[in-house]
């Protein structure tokens, strides 16, 4: 490893970048397939420095209620459901990662810090915390509240008096998180595999398109705009009393940085968006208004508060003494949640694989070809992953499932127990009825439901887990995660196990911040960069949901075996040793 100033002794190796367009279309939508062929004339490739470049635009449903929609915090990689890489003849599958975005979400959630997160946000359109949209009410940091610097929505400045769609086309550059590309620190001889053929299955839109956290009652409730008053008086703010009196204007507090000249720019709702009020400290308690509240104007008032004007005046119909009190209620978008259907889609266009083409000495190339012609094999190792899937019902409290791995050099097992419930697009996008990462009434966020049900892990009252490997229980005692299951704490043994497991998987364990939002467990198979031969051995995962509370969701276990995969290139083609 060299520093900025010290010199390494590498020979001169030139590198140039060539842009290879996808071959089966100009535009793609959800669930479609993108195909890219890297021609053998590319010869040698630095996969680590190659990336996929494309434009991305969210297509809102026709006639849908306006709201800001963004791509998941994972960024462009969230769009890849599965990826397959074949040799140029398309006969030999070199690498396949099923549920690619699931593995990628773990990588991006655990191998991260502020620097990396910010850099990914610039390159890949990933989520990043934005100071201008910061929470001031004790919520956990949100990566999905950006109204200012978002690649997916332009900044709206000044008073908003007419409906305006802020959605824009974003340009994303994503490294392909596979062994042949991003995790390959060696030069890959594309000419020896007769080229590379890449197939990418795009993800369903409802899985990857989100609303901002700051408009959802179920996701960091206190990050939403807080009701201030009907009169906007800083000295004597009045509540919205429950009576027949209709109102068409109210003000929101300066909480969550909705202050200053840019307050309207930071305000997360749009003109035309519908909403209700939810109780700040118990999100399930919502207002009972005489009709749908639709925003017609968003203005910065003279007293420094954001003024919200409704299209139609409404009354607070709540029975009994149930006023909407200052600082006690937050605005909650119903644009998606209350839609009868929400056919959101997206368009991926201008897809190019930018390949870092390495210019090696012709003598080296001749030597390699000579070696192959003499019947010898060229061996290339990559760090790849294979997904073995299993599922259980929510009612299953004790389960053992087998991972039928045939990997000769397994480094690590990563188990991502994801919520297998079938959600409507409205539920998935607005986090309504999805897994509760934090129960309603939480001291910090009030309520935190998952909007990433398609590919992130959930703990869901898991008490402990253990493995049976080659007839032995490992580790010798079950790994207790009952504290994580409480949604309020973390288990030290789990941290210890995960640190090993992630490191073995080539995922630098920089951050465990996502231990609740993207729960994962696993087992490292080797120490000192070693590996384990799983061929002919049984590997079972034993999970117990035997705590006092029953799990709430059916689960799909994505069990990724991270392993060293060998390509043996002979004159006749490529042989893959998994």
């Amino acid at each position: 490893m060299s520093s900025y100033w010290s010199v390494d002794d590498t020979m001169r190796i030139g590198k140039k970048y060539v842009s290879i367009p996808s071959e089966n279309g100009l535009e793609y939508n959800e669930n479609q397939k993108v195909q890219i062929f890297v021609d053998p004339s590319t010869k040698y490739m630095d996969g680590h420095d190659s990336y996929l470049e494309f434009d991305f635009k969210i297509d809102k449903p026709a006639g849908g209620v306006p709201t800001r929609l963004v791509l998941d915090q994972l960024g462009g990689n969230a769009l890849i459901k599965n990826i397959r890489i074949y040799d140029g003849t398309r006969a030999q599958l070199l690498e396949e990662i099923d549920s690619y975005s699931s593995l990628c979400s773990v990588r991006y959630d655990y191998d991260t810090d502020d620097s990396i997160r910010n850099y990914r946000s610039l390159r890949e359109g990933s989520g990043a915390h934005n100071i201008a949209n910061r929470g001031t009410q004790g919520t956990t940091k949100s990566l999905m509240a950006n109204t200012i610097n978002s690649p997916y929505n332009r900044e709206l400045s000044g008073n908003q008096t007419t409906a305006s769609d802020p959605g824009i086309k974003a340009k994303l550059c994503i490294p392909l998180q596979t062994g042949i590309f991003a995790h390959n620190e060696h030069i890959f001889p594309v000419m020896m595999t007769n080229g590379l053929y890449i197939e990418i299955d795009l993800a369903p839109a409802s899985e990857v398109v989100k609303q901002l956290d700051s408009v959802l009652a179920n996701v960091r409730t206190r990050l939403n705009p807080h009701f201030h008053s009907l009169n906007g008086s800083l000295d004597a703010p009045d509540d919205w009393a429950s009576n027949a009196s209709v109102q068409d204007t109210f003000y929101v507090t300066q909480a969550n940085n909705l202050s200053g000249a840019d307050a309207v720019s930071r305000f997360p709702f749009l003109v035309g968006e519908t909403f209700e009020f939810a109780k700040r400290d118990l999100a399930a308690t919502t207002s009972n208004i005489s009709g749908t509240m639709t925003i017609s104007q968003i203005n910065l008032s003279a007293n420094g508060l954001v003024e919200v004007v409704l299209a139609t005046a409404r009354a607070n119909n709540a029975s009994g003494a149930f006023p909407i009190v200052s600082q006690g209620y937050v605005m909650s978008s119903t644009a998606v949640k209350n839609a009868t259907s929400y056919n959101v889609n997206y368009t991926v266009s201008n897809v190019n694989l930018v390949v870092a083409q390495v210019e090696l000495d012709p003598g080296y190339e001749r030597g390699m070809l000579q070696k192959v012609r003499e019947g010898k094999a060229i061996e290339i190792d990559i760090l790849s992953a294979t997904n073995y899937k299993n599922s259980i019902l929510a009612s299953d409290r004790q389960t053992t499932f087998q991972v039928f791995s045939q990997n000769s050099r397994a480094k690590s097992l990563l188990v991502i127990p994801q919520d297998a419930s079938v959600y409507t697009a409205q539920q998935a996008i607005s986090g309504n009825g999805t897994y509760e990462i934090k129960k309603d009434g939480d001291d910090n966020d009030t309520f935190l439901c998952s909007t990433r049900s398609g590919y992130t892990g959930i703990c869901d009252e898991l008490k402990d887990f253990q493995y049976q490997l080659d007839g032995r229980l490992v580790p010798s005692r079950p790994v207790d995660v009952s504290k994580i299951a409480t949604r309020n704490s973390i288990d030290a043994f789990w941290c210890y196990e995960m640190e090993k497991c992630l490191d073995n998987a080539g995922i630098v364990p920089r951050s465990f911040r996502a231990f609740q939002e993207n729960f994962v467990f696993g087992r490292g198979f080797g120490v000192n960069n070693g590996a384990t031969d799983l061929r002919g051995k049984d590997l079972a995962v034993i999970v117990k949901y035997t705590g006092s509370l029953a799990p709430s969701k059916p689960k799909l276990f994505n069990s990724f075996i991270i392993h060293v995969r060998r390509f043996m290139i002979r004159d006749g083609g490529v042989e893959v040793v998994p």
């Binding site: 900025y4 100033w5 970048y17 502020d114 850099y119 610097n149 978002s150 340009k171």
Partner: protein
């Protein structure tokens, strides 16, 4: 072998020990003399105190205080006063390494290689770097009410000679001593008035350095150590810089670099009218801009070698071309700058992000809300960069020209200063007859 820490006074300080560019001391020079010892160049620190004054009254100038509105570039800290760094062989006075526009280079380097925690932590303590302009003004530039505050610094010198990890044999019959010269930055390019107006009686605002010394670690050589080789060489990466200006929507920059191992290059921009004036921060690193202070987004970039596109065989088409309403930077341009500065697999700390790389600011007065100076996370960052080859061998530009073609919306008469920095491998060969720097 025992080691000792030594302190060396500057070669050229006046009798009162106070060094000021305004009062006639534009160069700071330290000499580590030849001796029976080995110098660890990475241990070199320039130590001293800095004070800022709003006038040049004698005998006692007026310290900058709250309300004066005088500031300096926060991301640079003490490096803001370093215009040029030169390291010479003390014996022959020949140059071992020279980096011009040092502070301009440091601005981008610091943004890309240190995190906010770094800047608030050890870099803040030692080199006075701060991730916020107001914090920097209050903590470093402004004095207390009594004018008794002195701000101390202890700055390492990021450069190939010092940081490449090699040890210098100071024996007279080996490399011998070294001289470190720091050309100080003119006061007008260090300080600026945040409201863009030079306050009455404050046109002589300036900085002064005092109690200066160079600290470093020298290991003593005992008599039983074999005599040194009278000649040798060392390799390190260094920076070559060039300055030019552009003033059109289609700017072509071409240079014959004569560098055989060019590893990377990057360019930063600043309106020429902002350079060397007390009315603007001439050391920031911003997008090109037009006369109305609005930014002039870059539409398309090509990096050229010998007139052909290289290493990318395609244009970098900015996302601005796709939708001009977007405020975020183009991801390929970001990657280019990042790769040009951050070594592969090495450094993962930086402060760049959507908040300071975006185009959501203007080049108006620094005090304005939407100003380049008030951009979160340390201030605005922008540059065009490119990395060549794999490893440190880089690309041979000794025979072919380096070029950048920039298509932008710079459509008014507002010349942009362009600072170009080239990182390349250098070999320093020394012998009894002197030193030679080969690049």
């Amino acid at each position: 072998m025992t080691s000792r820490y030594i302190e060396i006074r500057p070669d050229n300080v006046p009798a009162d020990g106070v060094v000021s560019f305004k009062n006639g001391f534009p160069v700071l020079s330290f000499t580590v003399s030849a001796q029976q010892g080995l110098l660890d160049p990475s241990s070199i620190r320039i130590v001293g105190n800095i004070n800022f004054y709003s006038d040049n009254n004698t005998p006692i100038p007026t310290p900058v205080q709250a309300g004066d509105g005088i500031n300096a570039n926060n991301r640079l800290g003490i490096y803001g006063i370093f215009d040029q760094l030169t390291i010479r062989s003390n014996r022959s006075k020949m140059i071992c390494e020279q980096i011009r526009h040092y502070s301009k280079w440091m601005n981008t380097y610091t943004a890309l290689t240190s995190s906010l925690n770094d800047q608030m932590g050890h870099l803040g303590e030692t080199t006075l770097v701060m991730p916020n302009a107001e914090l920097f003004r209050k903590a470093v530039v402004e004095n207390n009410a009594a004018g008794t505050q002195t701000t101390s610094f202890s700055a390492h010198l990021p450069c190939g000679f010092c940081q490449s990890g090699q040890i210098m044999d100071l024996r007279p019959d080996a490399f011998g001593g070294i001289t470190i010269e720091i050309m100080l930055m003119p006061d007008a390019n260090v300080l600026y008035f945040e409201d863009g107006t030079i306050g009455a009686g404050k046109g002589e605002a300036h900085y002064r350095l005092s109690n200066l010394k160079l600290c470093c670690e020298v290991s003593d050589i005992t008599d039983d150590v074999p005599a040194p080789a009278p000649q040798g060489s060392m390799e390190f990466n260094t920076i070559t810089s060039l300055y030019t200006s552009i003033n059109s929507t289609n700017a072509q920059i071409q240079y014959s670099l004569s560098l055989r191992n060019l590893q990377s290059a990057f360019a930063t921009f600043m309106p020429v009218s902002n350079i060397n004036t007390l009315t603007a921060d001439g050391q920031a690193t911003t997008y090109p801009s037009n006369t109305d202070d609005a930014l002039a987004p870059i539409k398309r970039v090509q990096f050229l070698k010998g007139g052909s596109k290289y290493p990318a065989e395609f244009d970098y088409n900015n996302v601005y071309l796709t939708d001009s309403r977007t405020g975020v930077p183009d991801p390929q341009i970001v990657k280019g700058l990042y790769d040009a500065i951050v070594p592969d697999y090495h450094q993962v700390r930086s402060t760049i992000g959507l908040q300071n790389f975006r185009r959501g600011y203007t080049m108006g007065t620094a005090i304005a809300d939407g100003s380049y100076n008030n951009v979160a996370n340390g201030g605005a960052v922008f540059g065009l960069g490119v990395k060549y080859g794999i490893g440190d061998a880089g690309e041979d530009f000794s025979q072919e020209q380096f070029g950048i073609s920039i298509e932008s919306t710079l459509n008014t008469d507002n010349p942009m200063g362009v600072y170009l920095f080239f990182k390349s491998k250098a070999t320093l060969v020394y012998s009894q007859s002197g030193v030679q720097l080969i690049q």
